[in-house]
């Protein structure tokens, strides 16, 4: 049988096997190299949590992803929230692109907060979901009045009556923005919120790997202070934190699946060259 005629279902099966084996048995891999965006991501949280000017400020955890990108965004979120609660920082969950982010972010935060002894309303809050159509106007309104612009939390309680929000009223009270996204929603924070207060707010980005390319220039321009690139970034961050989780376990599957695809690309090209030679031979 010629290579180009190989049934695509055989390739799918090969891929499934290559992905499944490292999830079933422990396949050793060297620890990942920590890339500068990940290191900077970690160091930004460390700096913000240690700086007297920012350590008591609010962290906005913007969860703009749905179940479609759970493997990447949820592992980033878990690792980051673990870091935030270890630094005793107060945070707010928020979603404006996908309503699922409200629940996925909220349930993950609840689980991690329970372990860390955080109490809802006192140490963290879930602002809920707001529609993407009006996010520019909402973010601009939030700059000077978080309570008025957002109104209520996910449970319908007025933000002005929630204890954790008592001292957080405007953009100047926000110390860090972390965006977990399946799209380029971090732009809205950069365009309308990040520099709207008296000092720029440190902004971190956790995109899916397909979205990361567009964000790299923003690291160099200073619009972003750090970035976790998809599942790979989450794996690096878990390594830095010394808290292995899903991303660490999945890293072997990711690496071997990439090797398989490279192998298949080479194989496909070899097949194509063979076919071309065969056709040339037949015409002669």
């Amino acid at each position: 049988m010629r290579i180009p005629q190989l049934d695509r279902r055989v390739l799918y099966m090969m891929l499934a096997v290559v992905v499944a084996i490292p999830l079933l048995v422990n396949v050793p891999l060297p620890p990942p190299a920590i890339t500068p965006p990940t290191r900077s991501f970690y160091e930004t949280i460390e700096t913000v949590s240690a700086d007297p000017k920012t350590k008591d400020k609010l962290v906005i955890v913007s969860c703009n992803f749905g179940s479609g990108t759970l493997a990447e965004n949820l592992s980033q979120l878990e690792a980051t929230l673990n870091h935030i609660v270890s630094k005793k920082m107060k945070f707010a969950i928020f979603a404006f692109n996908d309503p699922q982010g409200r629940d996925l972010g909220g349930s993950t935060a609840q689980r991690i907060a329970d372990k860390a002894g955080y109490k809802y309303g006192e140490d963290w809050v879930n602002w809920g979901f707001r529609p993407p159509q009006g996010i520019q106007s909402l973010l601009k309104a939030m700059v000077n009045d978080l309570h008025g612009a957002l109104g209520t939390d996910v449970k319908g309680t007025k933000l002005s009556t929630i204890p954790v929000m008592a001292s957080y009223k405007k953009a100047d009270d926000v110390g860090l923005i972390i965006e977990f996204a399946a799209a380029d929603t971090v732009r809205y924070w950069i365009q309308f919120f990040q520099r709207a207060g008296t000092a720029p707010i440190a902004t971190l980005f956790c995109p899916t790997s397909v979205m990361a390319n567009e964000a790299y220039p923003m690291l160099e321009t200073g619009q972003l202070q750090g970035m976790l690139v998809g599942l790979k970034g989450a794996n690096e961050f878990e390594t830095v934190m010394k808290q292995p989780g899903f991303a660490t376990r999945a890293s072997a599957s990711l690496s071997y699946s990439h090797l398989l695809i490279i192998f298949l690309i080479v194989l496909g090209n070899v097949g194509m060259i063979q076919d071309r030679k065969r056709q040339q031979g037949a015409t002669k």
């Binding site: 500068p36 493997a71 309503p99 106007s137 690291l219």
Partner: protein, 227 residues
């Protein structure tokens, strides 16, 4: 119903949905179509529920009906004006509201463009004067001064050649311009290759996530009671 039973039902539904959706890889079939439509229906219903529970009820209905902010009632005729686009006689009303929103959006676009692109223009321009990044900067990648300088030169050359490639307003004649343009095209292809590599990584991550669910959450935890 016990919490564990509910969890088991949720996981079994997840397993059925995952396998049902992946069955398309074998061939087109009715099981896939069923789960595809179920997903679309669920997503639509979920969005409507979120729109009411998180936005309309707390931000509009409660304020208007319970807190007595009666003037919020005017949101209804304003919203209805959008739908006047379907009426030949009253379509002028839709133009009013669309015009209002277009004006607001245009104003915001100025701000978004400036905040988004001006820092990029500044960084791109500073490359020309060999602005060497600090090693600790996230974009620096631990470059030595020499490699950072080389990086800057490469950046400027690629920027110029790609911009040359996109000059369509005059015919690219002679030797220099087409050569520079061709170099720009090749660098674009390298960039697209990198983009596609990232796409592969994202798709693999999604597959790993579902495989982990099937292997760990379903088989290992639910069936074999392993942790």
């Amino acid at each position: 119903m016990k919490e564990e039973t509910v969890k088991l039902i949720v996981i079994l539904l997840g397993v059925a949905s995952t396998l049902g959706i992946y069955s398309i890889l074998y061939k087109e079939n009715k099981v896939f179509r069923f789960f595809e439509h179920m997903y679309l229906g669920l997503a639509a219903g979920y969005s409507i529920s979120a729109a009411w529970n998180d936005i309309l009820r707390p931000q509009w209905w409660t304020l208007m009906m319970i807190e007595g902010r009666w003037w919020m009632l005017f949101a209804i005729p304003a919203a209805m004006m959008f739908y006047m686009i379907y009426s030949k006689q009253n379509s002028w009303m839709s133009r009013l509201i669309f015009g209002l929103f277009l004006g607001a959006t245009a104003g915001q676009t100025f701000q978004s463009f400036a905040a988004d692109y001006f820092p990029k223009f500044r960084t791109a321009a500073s490359k020309a004067v060999m602005d060497l990044p600090e090693v600790s900067q996230p974009g620096a990648y631990g470059l030595t001064p020499f490699s950072a300088a080389l990086n800057n030169v490469l950046f400027m050359v690629i920027l110029a050649s790609v911009m040359t490639y996109f000059f369509f307003s005059f015919e690219q004649k002679g030797k220099v311009i087409p050569t520079v343009s061709k170099f720009g095209r090749y660098t674009l292809m390298v960039a697209f290759g990198a983009l596609f590599g990232s796409t592969i990584m994202a798709r693999m991550s999604l597959l790993i996530g579902r495989m982990y669910f099937l292997i760990h959450d379903f088989v290992q935890v639910q069936l074999l009671h392993m942790q």
